[in-house]
Amino acid sequence: MKEIYLDNAATTPVLPQVVEAIIDCLKNDYGNPSSMHRLGIQAEKRVREAKGRLSSLLRCTEDEIIFTSGGTEANNMAVLGTAYDKKRRGRHCITTEIEHPSVLQAFAHLEEQGYEVSYLPVDQNGVISLDHLKSLIRPDTILVSIMHVNNETGSIQPIRQIGAMLKAGPGKPVFHVDAIQSLGKLPVYPAQWGIDLLSASGHKIHAPKGIGALYIRRGVRIQPILFGGNQQGGIRSGTENIPGIVGMGEGAKWMAERLAEEGGCLAQLKSRLLQGILQAFPDAVINGSADACASHIINVGFPGLRGEILLHALEEEGVYVSTGSACSSRDKRFSHVLKAMGLNDRILEGSIRLSTSYLTTMQDIEEFLPRLTRTVQRIERFTRR
């Protein structure tokens, strides 16, 4: 049976050309970019090349990119690094209730240290209100951190408008965007959109795990959270993960090509998925408005079913999905994102997330739909009576 991987929001397969570049790097360009000899210079050149690729995807300049050990570190750096740098100016931050734990936990850590954090609620589509955000901004607000695409529901925040509003308003708090789920799938251009800091993660763009990046607008200052050899201009100490960086560059290049050429293909997969699911299960609920959400993430609730059971039953059919975000799938609590959208427990319990990538084909979807139908019917025979 052909395996169908619909868990691309958790992580994506690494592209063959990315693996090749990584192997080449591990075998041949293994130098330390801080070294002065040829191998070191060669390694540094590869870092610059990767920066070039990522910066052309983001339409920013190369020197605005810093590499990290992943999306989590990028988010932690942005939130903690800004708060520590601006603490004399103020100690108030704004974020949303639906951020990834790597943002929420960083803010929780700040709260323990006397910072004040306002959490914006979202509507039933998972979207914040611009007016509400505006009303929360105070003279001592130093940071606004809002994700672009949510990892559980795919809901999209109006980042461009928020950026414009913040740049036009008083105080001009630093604006951080977790773009980990949107990068390469939706346009996001920090330099033009008024974004000061933007997080990216390699393993969501077909590059390996353990590599991430932070865009830092020129002129924006943050405090480092790692101290040491002062690599990367002193902002992020630690020997650079060259193979990871090279891989991330390759991934970014490929994503930029796909975004330009076939941005529409993800939307086609999504509309076929939605149509197929709703046809087979009229009482299924799409969490988040189908229009206000990104094309590669669908969160669907089957009332009366248990998401976890569905997940494992689908697995027996060779289909891989998730019940929420991978990082929290080990804690038993319900998704904080779905809760924030006001869903009732019956839907919360029966929700699964389907997430596609540019490697997913229409054929995959056509094969998936009957397997889903079969599986749900099989479970219903046991649970619903």
């Binding site: 397969p13 130098g31 002065m36 992943g70 850590h109 040491g228 993960n241």
Partner: protein
């Protein structure tokens, strides 16, 4: 002998083919997120568990006490900052040495700005810390001692077991930065009474971008990266699976035959040291003659700039370093060389050559053929050398 001779293994090593081999399936086939509950994820988790067991075995530790990080720097930061902040109620005093890596020193500076007192113990002319000095520096406020197992610049190996015995007796936490030591110095965290230990795979033929911190059961260390529940809720971030697998394989291989590895490298190292001492005048070996890493050679050549020598060597196809890689971009003299008592002008003229498993005697002999000529040529251009010829000389 290839066209390039790599003698900068302390900066970073190549990744062994066997290590790479084990990593590959985790990019394209077993790419599941280890936190995912489906079987893709579970397979990934199994691979991670194996890597954790291999790491633990190499340190004689419990696998549950191994936590993977994004680098050696992160492991050092976590150990020092994390242990300091988590044990603040017990005291605010930390003891370390003047020759630690900047990942430890700069973290200590940060802590000083945040209300901690740090004692920087001096070292002797060989770069060795006196264990009794550690004992004497401990006060009722001391919560942590951080002393590196082996130094990255001059290769000096510290009396870790003696220090561990003292910290255990005094009830103080003991961290050691073993980033340079893995594969050359046998480690037993129980026998050596180590509470926290940092390591980085790219120093022992594993990949870059992955490190680990050993945290003894029951030792408190505040979290560094906040977010998902990975690494049993202590280090957030999607696990770098291929690199973790690589670290596991690399450390298993590195720990397999430490005496054999050391014997091979020491033979080459001693040939290089003796060769240099017998052919180059006014050359000083930095670090201890015996208590040093099997692959480390560090010399000062008077009257010349380390950087100039480095570039000349590079043209001849020999990759070495002046001091550590991370500071080689700066023009400040090495803090380690200053700490062992070298004056500024001499600390500038240092050359570090660090050997690895693939180096051959032929390569060493080529270095011995080329190096004296290069030093000679650079000295002839040096006004200092011409002035001092025949005069008083530092040795």
């Amino acid at each position: 002998m290839g066209d390039r001779i790599y003698l900068d293994h302390a900066a970073t090593t190549y990744t062994k083919p066997e290590v790479l081999e084990e990593m590959l399936p985790y990019f394209t086939k077993q790419y599941g997120n280890p936190s995912s509950v489906h079987s893709f994820g579970r397979e990934s988790r199994k691979a991670m568990d194996l890597a954790r067991e291999r790491t633990a075995k190499a340190l004689n530790a419990n696998p549950n006490d191994i936590f993977f990080t994004g680098s050696g720097t992160e492991a050092d930061n976590w150990a020092v900052k994390g242990a300091a902040l988590a044990n603040r109620k017990k005291g605010n005093h930390i003891i370390t040495t003047t020759i630690e890596h900047h990942a430890v020193l700069h973290t200590c500076n940060y802590l000083e700005q945040n209300g901690f007192d740090v004692t920087y113990l001096p070292v002797d002319e060989y770069g060795i810390v006196d264990a009794e000095q550690v004992r004497n520096a401990i006060t009722d406020q001391t919560i942590l001692v951080s002393v590196m197992t082996a130094n990255n610049e001059i290769g000096t190996i510290q009396p870790i077991k003696e220090i561990g015995a003292i910290t255990r007796e005094k009830g103080v936490l003991f961290h050691t930065d073993a980033v340079q030591a893995i594969g050359s110095v046998p480690i037993d965290v129980d026998d050596m009474n180590i509470d926290l230990l940092s390591l980085a795979a790219h120093k022992f033929y594993g990949p870059k971008g992955i490190g680990a911190l050993y945290i003894r059961k029951g030792v408190k260390a505040q979290q560094m990266l906040h977010g998902g529940a990975q690494e049993r809720n202590r280090r957030a971030g999607t696990e770098n699976l291929p690199a973790i697998v690589g670290l596991g394989k690399a450390i298993e291989m590195a720990a397999l035959d430490i005496p054999g590895h050391n014997a091979r490298l020491e033979a080459l190292r001693n040939r290089l040291i003796t060769g240099i001492l017998s052919t180059v005048e006014h050359a000083r070996l930095n670090g201890h003659p015996e208590k040093r890493l099997s692959g480390n050679v560090n010399f000062c050549f008077e009257f010349i700039e380390g950087e100039a020598l480095l570039l000349s060597l590079d043209i001849k196809g020999i990759a070495g370093s002046s001091g550590s890689a991370c500071t080689s971009g700066t023009l400040d003299p090495s803090h380690v060389l200053l700490a062992i008592g070298l004056p500024h002008e001499i600390a500038h003229g240092s050359l570090r050559l660090t050997l690895g498993e693939q180096n051959t005697q032929e390569e060493i002999d080529y270095v011995l053929e080329v190096l004296p000529q290069l030093v000679q040529r650079l000295r002839e251009m040096s006004p200092l050398f011409n002035q001092q010829k025949g005069g008083q000389i530092f040795v």
